[in-house]
Symmetry: C2
Subunit: 414 residues, 2 copies
């Protein structure tokens, strides 16, 4: 097996070759990767079955096993993401700024690949292909370190992708995989600052924190999503109910699911009973402040801790607020800067909310579940950054680029 | 005196207020700051005289004293930079992406201020005003930590700027200054990760390294500039000479000054004697490889170390290369990714050089001294980043912004 150092050096070399490959060549490779997946489907499903068996034997939870499993739907989705990435416009070579200075110097700022991207993630095998799609689309080499529980599945996926890349005429080391369950390998990876340009950990808060603190390589962080909706005094309450239900229940275990609902005092008496009825039917537990419980005596009393909790479960904390100021103050104090929304028909109120809420995504009259790559028209993403530097929000191919300033003259001096 | 914690919290509060201030209000404050400088000119010059006296007594070098001194020219420049920043288009609120999705969801990506910027720098008092100009232009609050040798000068500058900001109706804590020579204060500053969004150290490599390693706050790094020019076989040698002379000698102590010259073997016999004559006149020492010394026996023999040295002095290392491949390989191995140029009249060669050299700025037929804010049409900058994430190259007001995704709907669900 390759040592981590060898893998890092190979990635740097592959990145250098990729940096001058055309967009057409990269798209060809992505389509070939999707095609090659089809021919290893049986092998993948068998490897995944073994992964699941081993994980069961190791006592992994059902939720974990669910994330680990590749079924037909997920398999189709993996290939689809690769083909979608192939079809996207090329993020490399975009002219971000172009101007001719009075001196005649032609100055342009051009998007170029970052270089080498390291992805450290947990169980889901689809991250293996999604991350490779985004990285290769943007001309980057990728080093994948998946969870040890999915190692058999990842081995099959990576072998197929590398074969396709090579056949398409690009360096197979554009995609590499740390084929080991040794935790020391991650520590070693974190030291390759001369080869790796950015690390993207995907997983729990503790994984992300451990990685950011253990490396000098820049890290794109995906911290938690304590997402809010504020139902204002000027909301259409029927629409608000649909939005809150969708935000909370369309999928509870994801980062852009709703965790805290803020209801304006002026509409609380009307809105909360509608909400309680619907969430009782859907099996969502409500945890309310005192004012909520005055209207909904069945709600569980919310503690201070509830306002800072990302449940990722069918639980919703609910607070009655006196108006937009209190709503925004609550979000500023307890939110995680991921995704927060308002339901209102008042223009000034919506503008103030958008301007004053400091989050990666701010929504007006829409489900929090829409914050992300696909619903923003971005295609495949490797996650949603809650950091402010380099990328905030969905991390797609454009976000895995840096720039190069090019200045062309005919003898200009200073 | 305020503790560092208080300063950090005040900056965060000021940033919050600034984030909703209009561009007109920020420009008004910047013009007021320039105006207020004029009224403290005598006070500033007296404080600067005391700073210089103390630095002399402490045995600082002449080069250091030169950087510390504020003369009429530098004073005018400080005020001018503030006014120029006021006149620039507003970087805040730029619509970076805007699209309506098939669902009717209107998605936009808007530039917003980063929040709080910490600048840690050495002697030059003009950084105090330049950095404040860039930060305030982009709606950020700034915490300044200048070198202790310039503390009296900075105290006058910051007092004047804060007075002007307050009179212009913005929070005076938009600009704060750590009025202490205590090194423990820097350590304390590095811990304020909940308040400070980015740190920009300006100074030597060791300062930058110490800061990046001592904090979890993201750092925009300005490492060294080992800048190259490659004089190709297809260069106009007269133009090449003008470009090389200007790149090396217009100002030797700055990061975009030329440090290593690569000359194509096909033109070395013609070009090197022209170069030697001109640099002898200008007092620049040449350190050459064996092939250079075969043509210029007077050149000092270059050691391996020379290729990795940023002289910041009237010394130039010179190497004869066999062609663009060797030139690019040398730059890849020894360059610092700051600014590298080619002099050529061959189109394919210039394109290959631009594509294959992985530097923040790549120049064709122009002086390396042109890489930077003003000559790229950017106005005031707080430095030139050699990192690849968030910003690469000049760091101006646009680069001190992050983004916010705004999605406006009428009940869209997932």
């Amino acid at each position: 097996m390759n040592t981590i150092r060898t893998i890092a050096l190979q990635a740097k070399e592959a990145a250098y070759q990729l940096s001058t490959a055309s967009g057409a060549a990269r798209s060809k490779a992505l389509n070939a990767m999707a095609g090659e997946l089809a021919s290893v489907k049986d092998e993948l499903f068998e490897a995944n079955r073994q992964d699941i068996e081993a994980a069961k034997a190791a006592g992994c939870t059902d939720a974990f096993l669910k994330r680990l499993a590749v079924n037909d739907k997920i398999f189709e989705y993996m290939a689809k993401r690769l083909r979608e990435a192939a079809a996207l416009p090329d993020p490399v070579g975009r002219v971000l700024i172009g101007r001719t200075m009075p001196s005649g110097l032609k100055v342009s700022k051009i998007a170029v690949p970052l270089g080498v991207v390291g992805i450290i993630y947990e169980a889901r095998p689809n991250v293996t292909t999604d991350a490779s799609a985004v990285a290769l689309k943007s001309g980057n080499a990728v080093i994948l370190k998946g969870g040890s529980e999915s190692i058999r599945s990842n081995r099959v996926l990576v072998k197929a992708m590398r074969k396709a890349i090579l056949e398409a005429g690009l360096p197979e080391n554009a995609v590499q995989f740390i084929d080991s369950a040794d935790r020391g390998d991650v520590a070693e990876l974190l030291k390759q600052e001369d080869c790796i340009d950015v690390l993207i950990p995907r997983g729990g808060k503790s994984l992300i924190r451990a990685i950011s603190e253990g490396t000098r390589i820049p890290v794109i962080k995906h911290y938690d999503g304590i997402c809010h909706q504020y139902v204002s005094a000027h909301a259409d309450l029927e629409m608000a109910l649909r939005i809150v239900v969708n935000s909370k229940t369309e999928r509870v275990e994801v980062c852009n699911a709703l965790e805290t609902l803020l209801v304006d005092a002026q509409v609380a008496t009307d809105f909360l009973p509608m909400l309680a009825q619907e969430f009782k039917r859907l099996g969502v537990e409500l945890r309310g402040c005192e004012k909520v419980r005055a209207i909904l005596p069945d709600a569980v009393p919310a503690t201070e801790e509830d306002w800072d909790t990302e449940y990722l479960a069918p639980i919703l904390s609910v607070k009655v607020v006196s108006g937009p100021d209190e709503a925004i103050a609550h979000i500023t104090k307890h939110g995680s800067g991921h995704t927060d929304g308002i339901v209102t028909n008042d223009l000034a109120e919506s503008r103030a909310f958008v301007s004053r809420v400091d989050s990666a995504s701010v929504l007006v009259n829409a489900s929090t579940r829409l914050s992300g790559g696909g619903d923003y028209g971005m295609g495949a993403v490797v996650g949603i950054s809650t950091g402010k530097l380099h990328v905030r929000g969905p991390v797609g191919p454009e976000e895995l680029c840096t720039c190069k300033w090019v200045a062309e003259g005919n003898g200009q001096l200073r």
